[in-house]
Amino acid sequence: MQFQQLELIKLKHPSLSSSIDSLASYISSEIDEGRTRIVPALASTFMKRSEAEVTALLMVFEDAGLIDHEFDIVCTAKNSVLLSVPDLSKFDDLLPIQCRLCDSEHDPEGLRVELVFEVKSGQDFKQHAA
């Protein structure tokens, strides 16, 4: 079913077909390396496309049910992920966020939010994208 959705999108947007294949290939290689978190910035480097374009393509994969998005809340000082949340609607309630590395509490000024995607099932993905 998921595979069909992805194929439908490729049929709907034939100009994106090669990009979708390229991204699928990247995600497969990440899974092979044991990584299931897809960072758009890293994928864009691999694909030699802009981060915005890759984010858009990842959204297509999410619509196909292959991946889910979440937001990493990162300490800018130590560059470490403090939290991952599915949406930011309750971001205010999370503040201030305790950072063990800095041994302090961070307000939005000391934080960065990064969009990442999590592969739902590496096995399924490889089957669908193969």
């Binding site: 947007h13 100009s15 994106l16 990009s19 802009s50 981060e51 915005a52 374009e53 984010t55 858009a56 393509l57 990842l58 959204m59 297509v60 998005h69 937001f71 800018t76 949406d87 930011l88 609607s89 971001f91 205010d92 939005p108 000024e109 934080l111 960065r112 939010v113 969009l115």
Partner: protein, 336 residues
């Protein structure tokens, strides 16, 4: 009750803008639509009131961009050069606080604008450029400050951005106009009548210079190194002149002068085609004891003898129909 605005890290807002910029540049309509959709889903939707101009149709509007042949900004207005200009100014005027890019150029330009306005205000006061320049500088400086505050409060995103852009444009135009006026005034540039003279250039008004050869003139000449001269002068067609009259030689008594009968000779020529510049050369030809006492003559002699060999040469500009002046030379003429 409206939802409480959330304050997310600044980088999140920047990412949203990067997405929109990328969509703007994207030539593939399918991909462009997907980028806008992704921007809306992952960034704008979660930013809620925190980003920009989220009126009731906020998300609908951004989605409408994808179908529109004209790219639009997050606030729904067309992404025209004016919008780019607005965003650039936003970063400039807020000195980078409202960042649209990591470039330091807008911040630098903003700094220059503030420095120029303060410089304009200071120079208008110090150099006495006139109340108009001072008032304009104060008004513009205040406007720039108010706009900066307005931008920081994100008010333009809640009202009509186009109106704000127009106001910004007008402020910039006014600033450039006042600056140009101040610079022109500082340089004393008169485009209509500018004459190149060897001496310090001075502003002149649009008057007719006198026709020197037309008649005899009653004259007063004040020249460096000479006592003041009063008398009659005739400018000849051969570009020589002769003057008869008296030098007013100062005495030791305050405000007292001895009138020493004397004559002047010299040459003259126009230094410009429109006869505004007079090249003037003179020397003392004689002085006499006619009509003065012996004591007075002795005083005249002691003052004027050293001048007998001196030749005075200078160019001056006619500021009026009867007056020509330069640094160290002032000639006043009145018809006889």
């Amino acid at each position: 009750m409206p939802p409480k605005p959330r304050k997310l890290p600044q980088s999140f807002y920047e990412k949203f803008r990067e997405m929109l910029d990328a969509a703007e540049k994207c030539t593939d309509p399918d991909l462009k639509k997907l980028i806008l959709e992704a921007a809306s889903r992952y960034y704008q939707a979660d930013i809620s009131l925190g980003l920009s101009a989220k009126d009731d149709r906020g998300i609908d509007r951004i989605m409408a961009m994808a179908d529109s042949p004209t790219p639009t900004a997050p606030n729904g207005s067309p992404l025209t050069p004016t919008s780019t200009f607005y965003r650039f100014l936003e970063q400039a005027l807020t000195l980078g606080t409202r960042g649209i890019s990591k470039s330091a150029l807008p911040r630098f330009i903003g700094f220059l604008v503030y420095a120029a306005l303060i410089g304009l205000l200071t120079s208008s006061l110090l150099l006495n450029l006139g109340p108009q320049v001072t008032a304009s500088a104060i008004v513009l400086l205040m406007l720039a400050g108010v706009m900066s505050i307005v931008l920081l409060l994100e008010i333009p995103k809640k009202v009509r951005p186009v109106i704000f852009e127009i106001i910004l444009l007008l402020v910039v135009i006014c600033f450039l106009g006042v600056s140009t006026y101040a610079v022109v005034k500082l340089l004393n540039v008169k485009p209509v009548l500018q004459h190149e003279v060897s001496d310090k250039a001075a502003p002149i008004t649009k008057v007719e210079p006198p026709d020197l050869e037309a008649r005899q003139w009653k004259t007063t000449i004040r020249a460096d190194g000479f006592p003041a001269f009063e008398g009659q002068v005739k400018f000849g067609a051969d570009q020589n002149f002769e003057a008869q009259g008296q030098f007013l030689v100062p005495t030791e008594a305050l405000n007292e002068r001895i009138e020493c009968p004397a004559g002047l000779k010299g040459g003259w020529s126009y230094g410009s085609a429109d006869h505004f510049v007079l090249r003037f050369q003179m020397h003392l030809t004689m002085f006499s004891d006619a009509g003065i006492s012996k004591d007075q003559y002795l005083q005249c002699s002691s003052s004027l003898k050293p001048l007998a060999s001196r030749v005075f040469s200078k160019a001056c500009i006619f500021r009026s129909a009867v007056g020509c002046s330069a640094s160290g030379l002032d000639i006043h003429l009145s018809p006889l």
